[in-house]
């Protein structure tokens, strides 16, 4: 009897895991998408999700989580949940702006470099490789300082730093596609270069670009948080996860855990969301190919 039950259980577990194995890509993709959508929803619907103003005191100072303040309050008596919800706005703005800008610059450059080759390719590749090999956070910090602290400038700094990621991936993939027969055919048919690049190579790069976009977004989330943690993004007092973590840092030794736990959790969750999308996509595409 016990043996029979054990066999049943083990079969059920095996079936579940094999299912998970087959559809893991899709599951990861959906889970990631759910996380990212939740954060975007928080950013858009912030006033509906909390009655409090994130920059105004709404309760006692340093109150632990309770029904009235589910994530507690900070030293100024501001509601942490309100700050988390409104903080999503900065994160969403900076991450999508930065990653999209990076893509808009990196993809055409990578495509051109791969298609034309020669001196242009060699010079571009060398510059990009040098930047790529260097700690991106340091360059982002230097750019953010030079431009002056603001979310827009943080987005620009992050965008510049992640151009190499798009460039390298697109260049590599474009080189692979360029050698394929259908491109030779298109060339032999006398199609203009611009048409071959835009109509024949670019569409085949979409999967790569999507995966790189989500993985670059992971880094953008973490870099944005790092910049504001170092005081290089928002003005002091603005609700922002990285800034709130920096603000809460000095209260950790007194045991006020809620000041750092929730902002950091949101940063990591948001990054994880993009990571799951990227991993899921690449697994699904690999299966398709």
């Amino acid at each position: 009897m016990a043996l029979e039950a054990g066999r049943l259980v083990s079969r059920a577990v095996a079936r579940f895991t094999s299912l998970f194995g087959q559809k893991r890509g899709r599951y990861m993709f959906i889970a990631g998408l759910a996380i990212v959508f939740t954060v975007v929803f928080m950013a858009v619907a912030a006033p509906l999700l909390t009655p409090y103003d994130p920059t105004m005191p709404s309760g006692p100072s340093l109150a632990p989580p309770s029904l009235a303040h589910p994530m507690g309050t900070n030293r100024l008596g501001q509601d942490m949940w309100a700050r988390i919800v409104y903080g999503a706005r900065i994160a969403v703005f900076v991450v999508f702006t930065a990653t999209t800008l990076s893509m808009l610059v990196g993809v055409p450059l990578g495509l051109l470099s791969a298609y034309h080759g020669g001196v242009v390719d060699r010079v571009l590749s060398m510059i990009v490789d040098a930047i790529y090999a260097f700690p991106s956070l340091i360059l982002a910090i230097a750019l953010a300082v030079a431009l002056g602290p603001s979310p827009v400038n943080a987005a620009i700094a992050i965008a510049v730093v992640y151009v190499p990621t798009f460039f390298r991936m697109v260049r590599g993939e474009a080189l692979r596609i360029k050698r394929m027969e259908f491109i030779e055919v298109a060339k032999a048919a006398g199609l203009p270069e611009s048409r071959i690049m835009l109509r024949h190579i670019l569409p085949n790069l979409i999967y790569t670009v999507l995966v790189v976009y989500s993985l670059a977004a992971v880094d953008a989330v973490l870099t944005e948080a790092a910049l504001s943690f170092l005081g290089l993004s928002v003005q002091p007092g603005t609700p922002d996860w990285g800034y709130d973590l920096y603000y809460g840092k000095d209260f950790v030794l007194s045991g006020y855990w809620w000041l750092i736990f929730f902002p950091g959790l949101m940063i990591t969750l948001f990054a994880l969301g993009f990571a799951l999308i990227g991993e899921g996509l690449s697994e699904m595409f690999r299966k398709q190919v």
Partner: protein, 336 residues
């Protein structure tokens, strides 16, 4: 001969890499708005004449291109210049004082990340397509997305505030710093023969190294798993099984074959390691080169920033060179 030639070319390629980064940082700092004098002096009202004299004294009134080559020339002669903020203080001295702290942290973090990454990756590969495998792979994805200051602060909360077992920051307790023979506290304390200092330094190192190590371990998990899975499906493993060789021995052979991509990545990750070190050092008040660089950038201490960037870029180049050599040693098929 082939290897030697390859080595020479790779070594020579470090120079343009360093030059590109120096150029980039030089112009980012100068072309964009902002000025070291206003950053240092704040918005205090200073007579224009005095400001001009100060500017001349610091060499900031020369044409950019002259400043660019002046500094390069000095670096080639081993002179990294003096700080603009603490005027007259040689930057090389600051870097040499702080670099060992960062290297100590980096090596410890690298060690932590390799141990965690290899163990989780190995387990995932052996338990391929089970719940354990999925859990390990999820760990791999999650670890990379952990925000370093958050993880560090959580560790401080648990181990320093709640459990009182480890210090929350700094490199060593006040008054315990050993004589800087090498600058590495773990080594210097042993040279002095002071076990108490060694243990104190070690206790301070645990949380920062764990924080940085865990975040860096994620990619190793995934790399080793995938490469190990590929090796386990290869013919030679099947042949070992057919010959009845014990599983543990087969696994060791497979591991040795699977480890090369991990070694390559470990070298490439050096840049990530240095970036992560900045955040770890800030979180744990670790007096390393990362916190030095952040301060230098904030105060627009041009020569200091340039010096650190050149040193970093050089390190990145040298490390990746050594990884390539290591690669050639680990994998006898690699020939250049």
């Amino acid at each position: 001969m082939g290897l030697l030639r390859y080595f020479a070319i790779r070594a020579a390629l470090i120079i343009p890499t360093v030059l590109i980064l120096y150029t980039l940082v030089f112009f980012i700092l100068r072309v964009l708005p902002g000025d070291p004098l206003t950053a240092i002096l704040g918005t205090k009202n200073i007579p224009p004449a005095e400001l001009k004299a100060l500017r001349h004294q610091l060499g900031l009134d020369k044409p950019l291109i002259v400043q660019y080559f002046d500094y390069l020339w000095n670096v080639l002669h081993g002179n990294f210049g003096t700080s603009l903020v603490v005027r007259g203080r040689p930057i090389a001295a600051d870097i040499f004082q702080r670099l060992p702290a960062t290297i100590e942290l980096s090596i410890a973090a690298m060690f932590v990340s390799l141990v965690i990454g290899l163990v989780t990756g190995y387990i995932a590969a052996v338990k391929k397509d089970t719940v354990v495998d999925s859990a390990m792979r999820f760990y791999g994805a999650l670890a990379y997305t952990l925000f370093i200051p958050w993880l560090g602060l959580l560790f401080q909360l648990v181990f320093s505030v709640w459990l009182h077992v480890l210090p929350s920051g700094g490199r060593i307790d006040p008054g315990m710093a050993p004589h800087p023979y090498t600058g590495f506290y773990l080594i210097d304390s042993l040279i002095e023969g002071r076990l108490d200092k060694f243990l104190d330094a070690l206790a301070h190192l645990v949380l920062p190294a764990l924080t940085l190590g865990i975040v860096l371990s994620g990619p190793y998990t995934r790399l080793l798993r995938n490469s190990m899975v590929r090796v386990l499906e290869s013919d030679f493993v099947a042949a070992y099984y057919a010959r009845g060789i014990r599983k543990r021995k087969i696994m060791l052979h497979a591991l040795r074959n699977a480890i090369t991509p991990v070694a390559t990545y470990a070298g490439l990750q050096f840049a990530l390691l240095l970036g992560g070190a900045i955040l770890t050092e800030t979180t744990f008040s670790w007096p390393g080169i990362g916190t030095y660089l952040v301060d230098a950038i904030m105060y627009r201490d041009y020569p200091a920033v340039q010096a650190v960037v050149i040193v970093f870029a050089f390190f990145v180049g040298v490390i990746s060179l050594f990884v390539d050599l290591l690669y050639a040693l680990l994998d006898p098929r690699v020939r250049y």
